[in-house]
């Protein structure tokens, strides 16, 4: 019997259209003369630009520096001249700060090792690895884009296992699948580097059973890497969620409000493992990633190997162009991705997929009344009551939402997917979660301020 997580979960139609298509290096068409690089490509504080208009930049040069503890450096993915640093319309239609580079040639920073060979020997120490990962601007590549060095900064002995997410439970997406097949050795070395960084002797690579070729290949190669286990998992969404994956791989449950490290686990994506390999062994910052351009109406679903900043439009064009019956274009997968309000935008560090959907496929059903069938409750992987949370959010009862653990919601959308009445459950829960998290943060800040105000009084005594 295959392992999986213990509560909830759904199994949407897989639709892995591009699973058999090899990674294809994307070459920017000659008519594209400039690219835009967003400064907020990660969770946390936006990076601060360190270049000025008119500066020459080379590929791999830092153009924006981490703007806080939870933040990441941004490097130039193309060489040329900085043309503009200003807010332009982002993918949700709201203004987003971007650095525009007018492309000139393809000059790389010399320190980057561009040779094809695989470098196996890990020479850096654990601290040096974490520092390097921070410098190279590595973020969680699965889509959440959490700066990797923050997660890896664990105290010695705190972590017991590294868990690598090769699940790719989102329908349609095949970016991680192709990466595991074509860059297997590099991924395994990346895992080894991560193990060294957090000081653990065991790592589990969780892969869902619909990627048998990847499981076979990695299992065979992992024999040469002691401590790395490939863990085949039953197909179930949202297995790629951090807490779900820990449960599935090592059978430990993370408490409400706690972090994975509380059960001794650190989770990273296979894409992140590959980026770590390139950063540590080849000195190459995160300037490229796999983007899966897919969808039923699309002519040629393809897995592109594209540089950050590549226009979304150009990628769709290369995969056959926007078909006539396309109604919705989503950044990410169909379950957790967000529809583009504007496709005149670049890809960023978390762009795992670009999904085109036809009208029929993307249409939401007519909303009916809740019939109290409790399907949403049974599929919620966090053990929450989505119908209740959605209702209290709609009525702005934030206290009640907090009491019912709305902050634990991972926004996987299983509840909305399964609802026979087509209720927009997640829409309301997400709104409520945002409000409640804001209230919780304000309260924590107030408590901190009060504690600080009380301190001098005690000292005076």
């Amino acid at each position: 019997m295959l392992k999986t997580f213990s509560i909830g979960g759904i199994h949407p139609e897989e639709n892995k259209l591009s699973a058999g298509n090899a990674l294809k290096q994307f070459k920017l068409p000659a008519d594209i003369k400039e690219v835009k690089i967003p400064v907020a490509q990660h969770i946390g504080a936006p990076a601060q630009p360190v270049v000025a208009v008119g500066d020459d930049v080379r590929v791999g040069q830092v153009i924006a520096q981490a703007g806080g503890f939870v933040s990441a450096n941004i490097h130039a993915p193309f060489s040329g001249k900085v043309k503009k640093i200003e807010a332009t319309t982002g993918d949700d239609g709201k203004p987003a700060m971007m650095i525009t580079i007018a492309i000139e040639g393809d000059e790389w920073v010399e320190t980057i090792d561009r040779s094809a060979g695989i470098k196996r020997e890990i020479t850096l120490s654990a601290e040096e690895i974490v520092k390097k990962i921070g410098e190279m601007g590595i973020v969680g590549m699965g889509g959440a884009r959490f700066p990797a060095q923050v997660k890896l900064a664990v105290k010695p002995g705190q972590a017991q296992a590294l868990i690598i997410n090769g699940v790719e439970c989102e329908p349609y997406l095949t970016a991680d699948h192709r990466l595991m097949l074509e860059k297997s050795e590099e991924v395994l070395i990346g895992v080894k580097i991560l193990m060294k960084a957090i000081g653990v002797s065991e790592a589990f690579i969780g892969i869902e059973n619909n990627k048998k070729d990847a499981i076979d290949l990695l299992s065979k190669l992992a024999a040469g890497y002691p401590g790395i286990h490939v863990q085949p998992l039953k197909m179930k969404y949202p297995q790629g969620g951090e807490k779900q994956l820990i449960d599935a791989c090592i059978g430990r449950q993370v408490a409400s409000g706690a972090l994975p490290i509380s059960v001794g686990a650190v989770v990273q994506n296979v894409g992140t493992a590959f980026a770590v390999y390139e950063a540590v062994q080849k000195n190459k910052p995160l300037i490229e990633r796999v983007v899966c351009v897919t969808g039923k109406p699309l002519q040629n679903p393809t897995n592109f190997w594209a540089r950050i900043g590549t226009p979304v439009k150009a990628l769709i064009e290369a995969a056959g162009g926007i078909p006539e019956d396309c109604e919705k274009i989503i950044g990410g997968g169909p379950m957790m991705g967000r529809a583009f309000a504007n496709i005149d935008v670049p890809i960023h560090k978390g762009s795992s997929g670009i999904l085109l959907m036809s009208k029929e496929e993307s249409k939401r059903g007519e909303i009916a009344n809740c019939i109290r069938c409790a399907k949403c409750v049974s599929v919620c992987p966090m053990g929450l009551e989505p119908f209740l949370l959605s209702k209290v959010s709609a009525k702005s009862l934030w206290d009640m939402a907090e009491e019912n653990h709305i902050a634990d919601c991972i926004e996987c959308g299983s509840c909305s997917f399964t609802c026979p009445s087509n209720r927009p459950l997640l829409d309301y829960i997400r709104l409520g979660k945002g409000k409640v998290m804001g209230i919780m943060r304000a309260r924590a800040a107030a408590a901190k301020a009060a504690a600080e105000a009380a301190k001098p009084a005690e000292e005076k005594k």
Partner: protein
């Protein structure tokens, strides 16, 4: 028969004992409340809308009775009339406050072929402005305008705001609005402003406002909507009372300084300044210069007529 008397007697004695106990207990644990609070609450409208900033009319009455200076407190529903009554009860003075109402600062109609803002996207998610605005900036090229999903309608307790299906915009009913501010708080786009109702002339309150909050640069705003403020500053130049300021590419008319003369209205090239009265006609240029309606124009007007029908 005897049993009946005994029962009555026992109950009577019990009743008396309980009455005595209750009397002393109530004396001992009496909670003193200023009788004026009750009086003030009587005068307040009892809408419990929260527009004053307190949980309800009782909480407001308590605050009024407690405060030494009540000039900062005001009941938006009752207005000056109620506040002066309250001041009389409490023996405190209250500043005269002008009646206010909510104003929706967007006139970017999104419905029909001649819409000011053409829809560029279609949204079929939850019917809530707050949710829609977390997903994207809006379904038209303007990322500041009214989403028309009616969060303001849901929070209004006075049935004073509606989304007009003919324009797709929220509209305030002047007669019903009490300026409690609930809609302004609920609007995620922050396009609803609480403004003075204005000086009443011939049964009509005169007020002028800029009906746009688009902060984009002129060219972008111009493309996005036919009735957007482009921050050109013509209105500010023509205003004799320095009531108009341009900040972040959008004009704003200061409530206190505006005399509702209406000079700015016709000056606006985008017709983004609205008013409740007919704007004054500019002093007509010399008759010789006034171009007489040419035949072409007349013909065009006549051709257009059947279309409109």
């Amino acid at each position: 028969m005897e049993a009946v008397f005994i029962t009555i007697a026992v109950l009577a004695v019990l009743g008396c004992v309980a009455a005595v106990i209750l009397y002393f207990v109530s004396q001992k644990f009496k909670v003193y409340e200023d009788p004026k609070i009750g009086e003030v609450e009587e005068v307040l409208p009892g809408a419990n809308c929260g527009g004053c900033g307190f949980a309800g009319c009782h909480a407001m009455a308590e605050a009024l009775a407690k405060a030494d200076d009540i000039s900062a407190l005001s009941c938006p529903v009752g207005g000056s009339a109620v506040m002066s009554q309250v001041a009389a009860i409490l023996g405190k003075s209250v500043a005269e406050s002008a009646p206010k109402l909510a104003v929706v600062r967007c006139s970017g109609c999104t419905v029909g072929e001649n819409a000011n803002r053409q829809k560029t996207l279609s949204y079929d998610g939850a019917k809530s402005c707050a949710i829609a605005s977390t997903h994207f900036a809006g379904d038209t090229a303007c990322s500041y305008g009214c989403l028309g999903l009616g969060d303001c309608v849901k929070v209004c307790q006075f049935n004073a705001i509606k989304v007009n299906p003919e324009t797709g915009l929220a509209e305030v009913d002047e007669a019903k609005c009490v300026a409690c501010g609930a809609c302004a708080k609920a609007c995620p786009k922050q396009i609803i402003e609480i403004r003075d109702k204005g000086r009443v002339v011939k049964d009509q309150a005169r007020r002028v406002w800029v009906s746009c909050v688009n902060k984009d640069k002129g060219a972008v705003a111009m493309k996005a909507c036919k009735s957007s403020c482009i921050g050109c500053g013509k209105c500010a130049k023509v205003c004799k009372f320095e009531a108009i300021t341009i900040e972040g590419n959008v004009a704003h008319i200061d409530n206190d300084k505006c005399k509702a003369c209406g000079m700015c209205i016709n000056e606006c090239p985008k017709k983004a300044i609205l008013a409740t009265f007919e704007p004054p006609v500019k002093p007509a240029p010399k008759p010789a210069e006034t171009p007489a309606p040419t035949e072409q124009k007349v013909a065009a007007a006549e051709v257009n007529k059947p279309d409109q029908q």
